[in-house]
């Protein structure tokens, strides 16, 4: 719900929204006063007006929504909604050998949310129904004909095709993304963890306690760990994005260079890291760098080192190793992108620069780089936010390790917020803190995206680089 609100806020000021809502209410009122009896009855029985005016298809659809809503509210919704404020009060008790289950806080929270969303949805449908009635009335008054049922149906494949196309995607996203996110936002305000697992134990609302815990720097608080993980997440994203960006561009320029043959072969070799599933290549590489892995074993055998290099067990070295291996993974993507874009730069730009006596570096820093930065601005942003949440590379390579006693919640030295979130969910079943961290990840991503998006030259000035 929070995300919905912030989405609307962008559109206009709060004042604007209030005036829109005011207009809606006024419209509902005037339609009720001025409408005929068919319209008036439609306020209670959805679709009544449409059916009476011969639009059976639409009318029955409206009526079906109302019927389904009422049945749902009576059978499921009302009961859950009533317990939503406490998330259940009846404890599960053991009577002898039998367990008598009480309230299930999880289901109460989930279905309570669903019910609230259904109510909002129903109000929306009700409003659409009124609007549709008023429109039909006006059309009839003007002496025109209403569209027939067949035309209504056909329009779903023509000027209402968007509704047909988007019905399934929107429903899917609602059930499997929006609802779970709303649920987890709520969980951040409860004490749902391993001591409060439904159905055997109840959990309940605790307000901002989890957020306080996350930011408290004292002994058992998550504060120090959170800030250290957050810092590493940002540092990692910065390094991962820019190392692959510049090195990828360099490799692309190297292969694009005049006189280099077998261009396709070089590209194909590099692209292998995209083609091979990451869990195969990254797991193998992580073992390659292990203390008993091939690299250490070979170096030991050749006598170059006396002791295995602790690639994964030394915190600092583990971080460097991850960034370096990420270059191996990331260069090919940037190379592919840069290859095409570099060819788009007009050759006469370089030609005239050369006549003016510019050297290679000057041409790169004055022509190539500004052009590339301009064109790939949005790509850099998505890469950066993608790296903030780059689960695979971290999890498959180091698993977030090495572990540290100084960090709370089983976090390791190379854990990103996202891998920490995963560990809290799966290993610790500390859902309350996982939810809070998830919200923090959202906030960090949103802030960075918003700030960077607004300073991107290609957004500000679409025609800028001509």
């Amino acid at each position: 719900m929070a995300s919905g609100e912030s989405g609307k806020k962008k559109k206009g000021t709060i004042k604007n929204i209030i005036s829109v809502i005011g207009n809606e209410f006024r419209d509902i009122g005037t339609t009720l006063v001025r409408g005929d009896w068919k319209t008036k009855l439609s306020y209670l029985i959805l679709g009544f007006g449409q059916i009476m005016r011969g639009k059976f298809l639409k009318g029955i659809a409206f009526l079906a929504v109302e019927a389904a809503f009422i049945v749902y509210m009576i059978k499921v919704g009302a009961a859950y909604l009533a317990k939503f404020g406490t998330l259940g009060t009846v404890e599960t008790v053991k009577q002898g050998r039998k367990t008598v289950y009480g309230d299930n806080s999880f289901l109460i929270l989930l279905f309570g949310l669903l019910t609230i969303v259904f109510i909002a949805f129903f109000i929306l449908v009700w409003r659409m129904n009124i609007k549709d009635n008023a429109k039909d009335e006006a059309v009839l008054k003007a002496g025109k004909k209403l569209p027939t049922n067949g035309e209504d149906f056909k329009s779903l494949f023509d000027h209402n095709f968007d509704k047909t196309l988007l019905a399934l995607p929107v429903l899917g996203i609602f059930v499997f993304t929006v609802l779970p996110i709303l649920f987890m936002i709520c969980v951040a305000f409860t004490n749902y963890d391993k001591n409060h697992q439904s159905p055997t134990n109840l959990f309940t609302w605790v307000g901002f306690e989890n957020f306080k815990n996350l930011l408290s720097l004292g002994g058992s608080g998550f504060g120090t760990t959170f800030f250290s993980v957050l810092l590493w997440t940002l540092v990692w994203a910065l390094f991962a994005t820019f190392t692959t960006y510049f090195l990828g561009m360099a490799v692309a320029m190297l292969i694009n260079k005049k006189g280099i043959r077998l261009k396709k072969l070089w590209r194909t070799i590099l692209v292998l890291t995209i083609a091979v599933p990451q869990f195969v290549s990254l797991l193998y590489v992580s073992k390659l760098f292990a203390n008993d892995g091939l690299i250490n074993a070979l170096l030991l055998r050749w006598g170059w080192i006396d002791k295995a290099i602790p690639f994964w067990t030394n915190p600092g070295l583990a971080r460097v190793t991850i960034v370096v291996i990420n270059i191996w993974i990331g260069i090919p993507y940037m190379m592919l992108i840069a290859t095409g874009l570099l060819m788009n730069i007009p050759a006469d730009l370089y030609e005239s620069a050369r006549i003016d006596g510019a050297n290679g570096w000057q041409m790169f820093s004055h022509i190539t780089l500004p052009y590339m930065l301009f064109v790939t601005g949005p790509y850099l942003l998505t890469q950066f936010t993608g790296n903030l949440n780059n689960f695979n590379v971290i999890y498959l390579l180091s698993g977030g390790g090495p572990q540290s006693m100084e960090l709370a919640g089983n976090a390791g030295r190379t854990d990103l917020l996202i891998t920490w979130l995963y560990k809290l969910t799966v290993n610790d079943t500390n859902y309350r803190m996982a939810a809070v961290i998830g919200i923090m990840v959202f906030i960090v991503t949103a802030i960075i995206s918003l700030v960077v998006y607004n300073i991107l030259p290609s957004v500000k000035d679409e025609e800028g680089f001509q």
Binding site: L110, V178, I181, V251, P277, L294, V375, G377, Y422
Partner: protein, 294 residues
Amino acid sequence: MAKNTEKKTVSMKRRQRVGNFFSYLLLIVLSIIWLFPFFGIVMQSFRSYQTEFGGMVNYVIPKQFSLDNYKFLFSGETNFLKWYMNTLIIAAAVAVLQTIIIICTSYALSRMRFKGRNFLMRFWLILGMFPGFLTMICLYFLLKTIGLTQQGAIPGLILVSVASSGMGYYVCKGYMDTVPKALDEAARIDGASRARILFTMMLPMAKPIIIYTALVSFMAPWCDYIFASYIAFGHDSSYNVAVALYRWMKVNDYQGFFTRFCAGGVLVAIPVTALFMSLQKYYVEGVTGGAVKG
């Protein structure tokens, strides 16, 4: 004057040749770095399990080539074939369904102007900023209530991957935006409905991006470890290859399973890599277009 330019071109040519020599050297070094892990994994998959060791050793090329590890995978001692089939089914189903959903979403957002269009796009953009794993527990219980975990993990995984795929419309919509609208208008004047335009005009024209979408959706499930392991929890025959092989490396005693992992990895990588390489052209088109439009 003529002599002078000749001299100049000769010296330039030499400079270029020296430069090219270093470029080739660099490219060869890069190629070795890039290929070494793949070379290693193939070599180690052929190491004999019987006469040598199934774990970590300090040499790359096996002393005795054998198919022991591959035989083990097909011997039925583990569910490897089942895992492989699972992954293949998931990947194929996700590729088809996800592509359909993305085409629908992209066409609607690219060509139709309807109320709430901007709101929808902004809303989805914001939704995308929430980390995916945040919702894992909730999804798990949602799937559990309809019986799509453990035994039913495969349809469950397909459902979850496909359900939210509408949010990944960016690249496809960006491509459709480049198809001139005048074509649509001409067809509309001739009396074609929106649906007809999509099927007879847009789909053939958007073929490269459709192939790209299908390819990317097909490749993703091969790497899906996190959610797959969570909803198949403890049910061995519902694993996909990523979950199963990851467990060999991390949960089991990997010293005995390392070469077997390599063999399994090779078998997984071959079809995916072959498919990718044959459709590489479309992939490049997709990522380049997507990167520029953001």
